[in-house]
């Protein structure tokens, strides 16, 4: 392992990927505000979104700093196009019905908790700091998703069918959670990043236990789309970014 394999630029790209995961999911969850099944859920989903947005801000600032071209967290959030975003496809999936949102949350928060528990030991102090803070918040996110999965899965016939359909829809996108891009093995070996492959066992254990308790079947599929880490996204991301970025782009240089 040579120093050149863990350049500031490669660490910055890693921070950007994790930050984009949090940013895009924050944007998705925010859209539930005023539309959730009950008021408490309006608060829960937006609270989760706010935690994620906070993680994204710090990670994007770190990415911009390491990139060294003067891009701020706002520049990165509002002025990049789809091909520059490095989030996994799972977080950009449309919200769908409440069960689909919960399924996405269960699968993603379980991954994020496994990730942050290990990232706390990163040799990059900002990544370690974000992880140490976020790991406690994500424990609440995961538990919230788990409880809803239980209520819906082990609920009425309709809630069960919708929850099963939701897990089936999201499942193929979980393959990408355990892969990374070409830089990541070197970053992981250098103690900066976490090799996502090591997260699989803990993720399987928690998700399997939750699905079983919810009387849901673990989906079987051989189709696992990917490409998000390289900037190859689904059609949905284009619409999401257009909505998220339009105000900022319409008033360049404006301040509140």
């Amino acid at each position: 392992m040579t120093a050149s394999t863990t350049t500031a630029a490669s660490v910055g790209r890693y921070a950007l990927a994790l930050g984009d995961d949090a940013l895009i999911l924050a944007q998705r969850l925010s859209a539930w505000s005023s539309s959730a099944p009950e008021l408490e859920e309006d608060l829960a989903l937006t609270n989760i979104a706010l935690d994620l947005l906070g993680q994204a801000r710090t990670l994007l600032s770190r990415a911009g700093g390491l990139e060294g071209e003067g891009r701020t967290q706002d520049d990165l959030a509002y002025l990049r196009g789809e091909r520059e975003f490095r989030n996994v496809l799972l977080v950009e999936l449309p919200n769908g019905d409440f069960a689909q949102t919960i399924a996405r949350q269960l699968l993603f928060s379980t991954y994020q908790l496994e990730l942050y528990e290990r990232l706390e030991r990163s040799s990059d102090e900002v990544l370690a700091g974000v992880a140490a803070k976020a790991v406690k918040e994500v424990a609440y996110h995961r538990d919230h998703a788990r409880l809803w999965t239980l209520r819906l899965g082990d609920g009425t016939q309709e809630s069960h069918d919708r929850m099963q359909a939701a897990v089936d829809r999201a499942w193929p996108y979980t393959g990408e959670l355990f892969t990374g891009d070409d830089d990541w093995p070197a970053l992981a070996a250098a103690g900066v990043a976490v090799d996502p492959a090591v997260l699989r066992d803990g993720w399987d254990e928690f998700v399997d236990a939750t699905l079983a308790e919810a009387t849901l079947a673990r989906p079987e599929t051989s189709w696992y789309p990917a490409g998000g880490r390289e900037g190859l996204h689904t059609e949905a991301l284009g619409y999401l970014l257009a909505e998220m970025q339009s105000l900022h782009r319409a008033h360049p240089g404006a301040s509140w």
Binding site: E40, L43, N47, G54, E125, V126, A128, G129, A132, Y140
Partner: protein, 160 residues
């Protein structure tokens, strides 16, 4: 009192913008106040939650109060590690929360173990016959509860 001690005292007594009965010192987010070699004042804070929206007003308040003390050159730094925990809230802070009507967090917050919390006493009537309405409340740091005895709802500062 030295200049640094005076600045520290001024910053420590700043109220939290969202829960103004608590000061920054009560919250346990003030890490330090120092003078850098070139003379400028450095105030170090640790944020509570990743996305806490109060951190921006807090940073502005800190800068304002330091400048008001006659120190033009001030820098406010955010120190992420060690991560803030509700264990850093002072005993005084916990008492003030209770008086204000917010159930304080219990000590020894340990991530997942706090998710299955026992009953939270009602800050108004003291009864243990309370229920959790939602794990999430009006701010990222609070959960929403209600008392079955006196009927009043109340917020709880979540252990984290």
């Amino acid at each position: 009192m030295s200049a640094v001690e005076a600045i520290r005292a001024a910053v420590a007594t700043l109220p939290d913008p969202e829960i103004p009965v608590l000061t920054l010192a009560d919250l346990g987010i003030l890490r330090g106040v120092e003078r850098a070699p070139d003379g400028h004042v450095v105030v170090t804070l640790t944020p509570t939650y990743s996305g806490c929206p109060a951190i921006d007003p807090i940073l502005e308040d800190v800068e304002r109060v330091v400048r008001a003390g006659g120190h033009d050159q001030v820098e406010v730094r955010l120190q992420l590690a060690p991560a803030w925990t509700t264990d850093w809230i002072t005993d005084d802070g916990r008492r003030k929360l209770l008086e204000y009507g917010i159930a304080p967090p219990e000590r020894r917050a340990h991530g997942c173990s706090t998710l299955a919390a026992g009953s939270v006493p009602c800050p108004r009537c003291g009864s243990d016959d309370t229920r959790q309405v939602s794990r999430f409340g009006a701010t990222p740091c609070q959960a929403h509860h209600a008392c079955n005895a006196c009927g009043e709802p109340f917020d709880r500062f979540k252990p984290i």
